[in-house]
Symmetry: D2
Subunit: 138 residues, 4 copies
């Protein structure tokens, strides 16, 4: 079970006033929650600097499904990386455009490799990556 620790933080009054306004703007319930979230954000950012680190994330692609071979190519690429992929989900944005979200869990360099292979396929209009974490120790 987790043990809760408590410590003191000192801050100039003017910085504290600006921080409290930041807390309101960003919906945090209290200073501790905001500070924990800033720290966790930094720790996850550092995780993503080490190529071999195990992470989770989601690759979002937008593509034109009228190019039918495209879907076969995208499925083939995903099967070659199936150990990395937890699931993928398909959304119809409009008559032509599809959005696909591929949830991944694995090493960072494998995530980047998969993203690069998907992004570079003709017909894929855009690929982006939400960098997340397995949540260990945060």
């Amino acid at each position: 079970m987790e043990v809760l620790k408590r410590f003191g933080v000192s801050m100039d009054e003017s910085l504290l006033k600006n921080f409290d306004e930041f807390i309101n703007r960003n919906n945090y319930k209290n200073r501790s929650e905001a500070i924990r979230d800033l720290i966790r954000g930094e720790l996850v950012e550092e995780e993503w600097l080490e190529k071999g680190h195990l992470v989770a994330g989601a690759i979002v692609m937008v593509y034109d499904h009228h190019k039918r071979e495209l879907m076969d190519i995208l499925v083939d690429i995903q099967h070659e990386h199936q150990g990395l992929i937890i699931s993928s989900q398909h959304i119809h944005l409009d008559k032509r455009m599809c959005l696909e979200v591929i949830i991944v869990k694995g090493k960072i360099d494998e995530v980047y490799d998969l993203e690069s292979k998907l992004r570079s396929v003709k017909g894929v209009k855009h690929a982006s990556l939400a960098k997340s974490t397995l949540g260990k120790g945060i």
Copy 2:
């Protein structure tokens, strides 16, 4: 139907050599495809600078489901923004940690607002956003 246009690009030999290596490293099939992708990437980045622009994307959250009220709070928040949310998907990372991907389509400031509300809930360890596009005109 889309009309394909063609134009010439000039480049110093040394830059072209470096570009061709970039193309190989990043799995592009040819120079045109790489250039189109760079341009589309910039256009989508610019889309995300205008608060009122319509976009698509995915919010990825990692949270500890042992805090049971947490799941109720997260569902409540999502219902308050149901017009924005296309679907959400839940992954069990380990015994404690869940990863949830919420696919959104709507105005940028609404996407940021939803992300902020989810991120600030106690028990949510991390939230990140994959910024994507409806794919119009790219």
Copy 3:
């Protein structure tokens, strides 16, 4: 004179352990200093989201001075924005390449406008921006 305020922060032991390692890796002297710096970093990031905000910063350009007209063009552009520019400094990187740092103080949209005008001149190889702050209230 600034009044120093003090408040308590609570954190799971495992997060605190990871935070203390973060503090060591990043040379902070203590937890308060690290937390203040994370907060200030977020506040400055938010400053840069409002186009009309007054900020400070530095534009760094690398260009090939063998294109002599280039230097005239760059000086002309800077004179058109002289109200924004505090100083500029020139470094000889090698026989061909120059690095120039332009320190700016003014509205964000004016900073971006100047950066864009410099970056787009033929012969300018790269332009980047260090986003800083006037330091009010932080």
Copy 4:
């Protein structure tokens, strides 16, 4: 002497229209110049992913000079990294706040190390980094 190469690029009419608008908004003179700049931007971004790569850049700090020991500490740190530092320049933002720009040329991990040491000094309100390049082959 550099040899100029020329090649053809194909693009859907709608993407080309959006690209031409992008070119106008961003002050580029023609499509070739815009494409070269996008490519150079990507190449420099990739440079900054390899810790040992030689780069140029500028660290911008804002600090409160009323803490007089602070200036001694900052100078000491800079002297310990003098091989990395080309020059530094000091601006008086207002009665209390100083902005200092340190131009650096060296290995990426050394740049980050210096930035981290400066940023973590008590009294330094903000540090940011403009990531630039030696301009080789671009």
